[in-house]
């Protein structure tokens, strides 16, 4: 530990203060004295101390009362209570009130050394913990959200503005656009970040299973309920619950959910005890919730309860400028996880990716890159490594000429630029194919 540990001694007896002062000064600590609790509390307003050694019996405010007030100040100080009159009751009370330890005066020099050593170890662990937390947060923040398009900038801005609040959020967007990543980013930038983010895929569960999953169940609540089980709302206490595919939940579940959101209280399936949980709700859907409300399929009151803030995640085809960055990110991600040297992607393959309409969005692109790394030559991802042959026609193609060009390139790639075989497949002669290659400026990726 680099920082000098500071100790405040609070005792009405001058001889005690002096002897402790001398002892700690010789150990190289920064030491201050206070002759009563009021003076110590005043000192704590303008200065902070790592360790406070306080006598329990002092005129005016006693050590236990001072301990309670120190805890109210929310300082990180470690308080050690000293007394000449040891009783089990006062020791227990001191520890209950948050004292780090309790010692009886006079104490053995070795005990004092141990006590202070344990306290300083606790301080260094706390510091280490804080530093690690900071590192974890910075890692979470930089990782997941990739893109520099205006649409993504807006999403990031929305995340930033909503993260610190406690408001419910509905994330909308097509499948595979990264709605869960947005939820994770909101959670990891919120004050709840050190508590769990609990995800529930509502669409994957039947009504009864979802009920048990969300609220938990008591032993014997239904056949197979052999143990008590905490529900997801309970697990998300102080954290965030992410309800994916919220539009799929039944009408009954909508009513139950509304009740929980309003009261933050619920009862486990088969139980009778009310359980409270402090959670934040983030939902996601790829459906038009507003439209469902208008059609009467989704409860309007629940919709307004959930949809305090709406974040729309655009499909990949609306932000094609992000594709190179995403490709680069996924290449690094999978090469690292497969323990391979980073590969590159040739320009033709990248161009094709940019032209593709990606119905499965970022998830589809990610799968494509993963597959290309697995099947590729380990150096460069080329067109033949991308599963685009059976792809639907790119939405950027409108003219017949573009269609012809794309089709010829696809066939040439399929036959590894063997002109004879490609011409045969296209049912044109070789000269015609050469003319087309020249006309459209087609080049082999290799």
């Amino acid at each position: 530990m680099t920082k000098k540990i500071s100790i405040l001694i609070v005792d009405d007896e001058e001889s005690v203060r002096d002897s402790l002062y001398s002892w700690f000064i010789e150990d190289g600590y920064r030491v201050e004295n206070a002759e009563n609790a009021n003076k110590a509390l005043t000192m704590l307003e303008s200065d902070s101390f790592d360790i406070i050694l306080a006598d329990i019996k002092m005129p005016g405010m006693d050590g236990l009362e001072m301990l309670r007030r120190i805890k109210l100040l929310k300082t990180d100080s470690i308080v050690i209570i000293m007394t000449a009159f040891a009783t089990v009751d006062t020791a227990v009370q001191a520890l209950k009130d948050g004292a780090f330890d309790y010692v009886t005066k006079p104490f053995d020099p070795d005990d004092l050394s141990h006590l202070i050593r344990n306290a300083t170890r606790q301080i260094s662990l706390k510091e280490e913990n804080e530093n690690l937390k900071k590192k974890v947060v910075s890692l979470e923040n930089v990782e997941d959200m990739i893109g520099s398009s205006d649409q993504m900038k807006k999403v990031l801005k929305d995340i930033e503005s909503v993260a610190q609040s406690n408001s419910s959020v509905v994330i909308t967007g097509e499948s595979g656009t990264g709605k869960e990543l947005v939820a994770r980013a909101i959670h990891s930038n919120s004050t709840r970040k050190f508590f769990p983010l609990v995800s529930v895929h509502c669409g994957a569960l039947t009504e009864s299973l979802l009920e048990s999953e969300l609220f938990g169940h008591e032993k014997g609540a239904f056949t197979g309920a052999m143990f008590n089980r905490k529900g997801r709302f309970e697990m998300a206490d102080n954290g965030t619950i992410f309800l994916d595919e919220i539009a799929t939940i039944s009408t009954k579940m909508q009513i139950d959910l509304l009740r929980v959101l309003e009261s933050k209280k619920f009862i486990r399936v088969g139980g009778n005890k009310e359980i409270s949980s402090d959670f934040r709700v983030i939902c996601a859907t790829n459906r038009d919730l507003k439209g469902m409300v208008e059609k009467g399929i989704f409860r309007e009151d629940l919709y307004y309860r959930l949809n305090v803030v709406n974040i729309y995640v655009p499909p990949l085809r609306e932000r094609i400028e992000d594709i190179p960055m995403l490709v680069d990110y996924f290449i690094k991600k999978y090469c690292t996880s497969m323990n391979l040297q980073p590969v590159s992607i040739d320009s033709a393959a990248l161009k094709r990716l940019e032209e593709f309409n990606f119905p499965g969005n970022v998830r589809e692109l990610e799968n494509m890159i993963e597959r290309a790394i697995v099947v590729g030559n380990g150096k460069k991802i080329s067109l033949r490594d991308l599963p685009l042959e059976k792809s639907i026609i790119s939405n950027s193609i409108e003219s017949l000429e573009d269609l012809e060009k794309t089709h010829i390139l696809q066939i040439l790639n399929k036959y590894s630029w063997n002109i004879s075989r490609a011409a045969k497949a296209l049912k044109v002669d070789r000269v015609t194919l050469y003319n087309k290659i020249s006309k459209y400026g087609l080049k082999s990726a290799d």
């Binding site: 001889s15 005690v16 402790l20 000064i25 190289g28 005066k105 006079p106 020099p109």
Partner: protein, 179 residues
Amino acid sequence: MDLQNITLISFGYFEEVFLRDIAEAVKQEYFFQVNIKEGRLDLSEFYDPGRRQYDGTKLLKEVDSAYSSDSNKTVGLFSVDLFIPILTYIFGQAFLNGRTGIASLYRLSNERYGINTADNFISERFKKEIIHELGHTFGLIHCHIPTCVMRSGTYVEDIDQKSSSLCPGCRKKISGVVI
């Protein structure tokens, strides 16, 4: 006034050979002239009947006011059981960056801990304790080097494990005062 010497003042009976041996060790460590004097104090004034021990803090203050001067580093040598109010016992104590320290033989003998008696240990331990307290008067705080004499020791075994010399780091810290 510049520091001229170190004075060891014995309160109570100490053999002359024993004291000369200690003075030589102190001289070798700090390179100052070391004088030995005999002090007279009515120790009953410092006796705490409740604890059946002698108040180290009061003794230190007394030695400092009655026997020390700015040109001297003084260490009072005792053979009684010393305490400070907060601790059950002490081997010695000193004013950090001051001019006075005290040390006692009482807790340094093996027989206090039920270990086999071996008198040569007492002499070595006492030397280390005196050099340690003098180190505090030169402004040194406790050192983490296991062999350094400035390492804190709360048991006689701790004292036995360290040497009677300052480590290079501690020596460097007082190089302006001590050669």
